[in-house]
Amino acid sequence: MVEMNETALIMNNISDRSLLLLDEIGRGTSTYDGISIAWSIAEYLHDNGRARPKTLFATHYHEMNELADQHERIHNYHVSTREVGHRVIFLRKLSPGGSNHSFGIHVARMAGMPQTVVERATDILHTLEAQSVDGGRKMETKTEGTETTTAEKRLAPTELKQRVKNIQPQMQLQIFDADAYTRKIREELLALDLNTMTPMDALWKLNELRKIAEKK
């Protein structure tokens, strides 16, 4: 909410000579809120009829690209990237046109997130993307070494919900399984009467617990 108040302050003070930097406005709210806020701010800056401040608007909401079609002084640019195998090279070059791909997962890999998480994220992304093609939406598949320049039409909210339901709950099962063994070990431990156990008993019990763990 702080962000919104402060953005309102800009709106009241802009002039034709002002320079605005808006970087990922609306972040921190839910996706749809975020896009709505960013969208309406961009529209206001374009259409307020009072001042036309020069604005650089960075966003990872590709949906925003459609603004350019409807507003003559809004232009789409993107920062080009190149995908080589599983890795992404950031070319850091500003080019005209929108972009269609978020590389959050690659960034996660670079940031050292655990391999299993990255792999699972890639699975889920593929599921969602495949459905996108099934759903008849046009999407340019990238081949190795090509720059991404075309804009992707993104999912409508209801569609996204539907697709999320289709994601196979692989991860959840694993967690549950792990939990079952943990619970078994815990039960065994709590059942012990330490006052009557001999050191030898304790060693036997330890061996038993280890076997439970090994089954996993």
Partner: protein, 688 residues
């Protein structure tokens, strides 16, 4: 005075020693300050102050039995003040220093009074000041309908300016100038914390001190004027209220010698690019948001004088909106960047100048020492050289802005000569050590020094003269504690003693005499040492007063040197980082070719180069550029480099690009949905 423990004999009046009575009286006047009470060679603190002091300094807490009351006591030797005072102030205490005002006489309590109250915002102590930073006291007057008046005062440099505005303006100014202390009306402390946070060191005064009538009266009396039009602040009523409160606060902290605060100005916010506080922070203009990060100021600051460093920070925070002023700076940077030989000659002179502003403030408060006066002399000599280098004879007539700077310099020849003759070539820092005043400057002092250096010779001379006059071959000069120097004559020569000698003593084999000349010489020798010290102190004080008459022209010099230093610094960066001169106009468009981020490009690993980008914006065709792209791809850097290039240009700097044409910008606003450590090369995802 808070007393520890309860007394049982309440009917018996507690016995308070005269010293403690005096202490209690002084402490009563400065209840908010930690009182350092000079007792002989020590500064003592008592009671609650003693507890605080011993904790803050790690010194022993003892107690003194004062007529039955055990009161805490902590003290340190007087020469440790330079060491401990900064530590107390940095620990957040206001420190009142109470000195002995007369020489101790047995059986009588020495007269004492507070000579100085040191607070974070009011200090001229070198140990508390950072040489390349201002130390501002801010005073804030509250008006109606979200209006404020604010005064910024740096007592260490004499800078004093005011402005008015709303909460947002004040917040921005506090962010920019980072006052070391904010003084505000007592009833407004809650509002202040709500608006501006609790990060500032605050102090409150009674509300009536922040009124227009009171403030205006204070200002008129301080500047000895009948109006304030000349300063351009006549109509700023809230500003005057704040400024008056600042002067009142200085008086309340015993800062009464304020000749160096010779002017007050209005910070005209419309003459500078409006940067909202998010811009200042997000563009990391003067401070990085991360420990390892680099600020724009750090990239730009190659200044070689403390005044230059302080001024550059203001240039970075206050980019200009006047085309003419911007172009003047560009002209000078252009000249320096293109004339490296000239720069190489000019720089050593500026290096020699040192911190003129703070020297002048020390002069005003009478704290300048002999060595610093010599530094002033070196500075004036260097200024003379700089003036010669910036003359039409040396530069030709085309370098307009630089010629004007040169014209403004005043080497104060009379003062220079005065210092040269009066101060010894290598004086001590402490005038009380002796030897600060040059030989040949004052006959009276020369005589005294002659006596000390040649006392033996003079006595011998006298002995010879008297021997020749009287023919007494056995004449000797001696000394005893009863009647000092005497002439001794053996019984054999008794008859030759002239009438003008006075007999003082008869001994076994002769007699002892004194003469008026001998007595005169004696008193000269015995008194000379003491007299020399007294005289030197007096002469030095007189000299400092004379220097005081030059505060205004020397401060003006300091300003010009600071400007030159900033321009040289910008030229240095322009050459090193391959910046280009931006073309400036009053159009509404903005065109940058191969723009780079001025900070990131200096932080890249060896072998990597910054990928430059073009940006074009105007009000008719490309008003809004929507940049999409994955995180980490450099969107934020692009946004910021564009703003930084515009701001650099309007500060008077060249810009990191292959070409740039910039229609003047009046305001920069920044909003970031998440905070990134941009100069450290990290994005939000990384830092999480």
């Amino acid at each position: 005075m808070a007393r520890t423990g309860n007394k049982k004999n309440t009917d018996q009046t507690p016995v308070v020693t005269p010293l403690m009575a005096q202490y209690n009286q002084v402490k009563g006047k400065y209840p908010d300050a930690l009182l350092l009470f000079r007792v002989g060679d020590f500064y003592e603190t008592f009671g609650a102050d003693a507890i605080k002091t011993s904790t803050a300094l790690g010194i022993t807490l003892t107690s003194r039995n004062n007529g039955g009351s055990d009161i805490e006591l902590a003290g340190f030797p007087h020469h440790a003040l330079d060491l401990y005072l900064p530590r107390l102030v940095r620990a957040g205490f206001r420190v009142a220093i109470c000195e002995q005002m007369e020489k101790p006489v047995p059986g009588k309590v020495v007269k004492r009074s507070v000579t100085e109250v040191v607070t974070p915002g009011v200090t001229t102590d070198d140990a508390l000041l950072v040489h390349n930073q201002n130390n501002f006291l801010a005073t804030l007057a509250f008006g109606k309908n979200d209006r404020f008046g604010v005064a910024f005062l740096d007592v260490s440099t004499g800078e004093f300016f005011i402005t008015e505005g709303d909460t947002v303006t004040m917040d921005k100014l506090f962010q920019s100038f980072k006052p070391a202390e904010v003084v505000l009306p007592k009833s407004r402390i809650k509002e202040f914390t709500a608006f501006f946070g609790d990060k500032f060191y605050t102090f409150t005064l009674e509300d009536w001190i922040f009124t227009y009538d009171f403030g205006r009266e204070k200002l008129l009396r301080h500047f000895q004027t009948s109006g304030l039009k000349g300063f351009g602040i006549e109509e700023l009523e809230l500003g005057q209220a704040a400024a008056g409160a600042a002067l009142h606060y200085l008086a309340a902290t015993e800062n009464t010698q304020l000749a160096h605060i010779g002017s007050i100005s209005r910070l005209q916010t419309d003459k500078f690019v409006w940067l909202d506080r998010f811009t200042i922070r997000n563009l990391e203009l003067v401070a990085s948001n991360h420990e390892t990060g680099t600020s724009l100021l750090q990239v730009l600051d190659h200044t070689i004088s403390p005044m230059g460093a302080r001024m550059l920070k203001k240039w970075v925070l206050l980019p200009l909106t006047s085309l003419q002023q911007i172009q003047e700076r560009h002209d000078a940077v252009d000249f320096f960047a293109g004339n490296q030989d000239f720069v190489a000659q000019l720089e050593p002179h500026i290096r020699h100048i040192g911190d003129l502003e703070r020297l002048m403030s020390k002069t005003a408060v009478g704290k300048i020492n002999p060595r610093e006066v010599m530094q002033l002399r070196r500075a004036l000599m260097a200024i003379d050289q700089v003036k010669k280098m910036l003359s039409p004879a040396a530069l030709g007539t085309s370098a307009g802005a630089l010629l004007r700077l040169g014209e403004g310099l005043n080497p104060c020849h009379t003062l220079l000569e005065r210092i040269e003759t009066a101060i010894a070539p290598d004086p001590p820092t402490d005038v009380r050590k002796g030897g600060a005043i040059a030989d040949g400057a004052y006959p009276e002092l020369d005589d005294l020094r002659h006596i000390i250096r040649h006392s033996r010779d003079l006595l011998l001379e006298l002995q010879q003269r008297e021997t020749e006059r009287t023919g007494i071959q056995s004449l000797k000069i001696g000394f005893n504690n009863v009647f000092g120097y005497y002439l001794e004559v053996t019984a054999k020569w008794k008859d030759r003693v002239p009438a003008d000698w006075t007999r003082k003593q008869t001994i076994a084999n002769g007699e002892r005499f004194i003469t008026p000349e001998l007595k005169d010489l004696e008193s000269k020798i015995l008194g000379a040492e003491e007299k020399i010290l007294e005289l030197e102190e007096r002469l030095f004080r007189e000299l400092v007063e004379e220097v005081g008459a030059y505060i205004a022209p020397v401060q003006h010099n300091a300003q010009i040197i600071a400007r030159l230093d900033c321009l040289l610094s910008l030229a240095r960066v322009a050459v090193r980082q391959h910046y280009v001169r931006p073309e400036m106009d009053e159009s509404l468009s903005l065109e940058i070719k191969d723009g780079r981020h001025p900070v990131i490009e200096t932080q890249l690993p060896v072998g990597e180069t910054y990928i430059p980008n073009d940006v074009y914006l105007d009000n008719e065709t490309v008003q809004i550029i929507l940049i999409t792209g994955p995180n980490m791809s450099g969107k934020s850097a692009l946004l910021r480099q564009t703003a930084l290039i515009v701001l650099l240009a309007q500060m008077g700097s060249f810009v990191p690009a292959s070409a740039a044409r910039i229609g003047l910008i009046d305001k920069v606003f920044t909003r970031v949905g998440a905070s990134d450590n941009i100069s450290g090369g990290e994005s939000t995802l990384w830092s999480k």
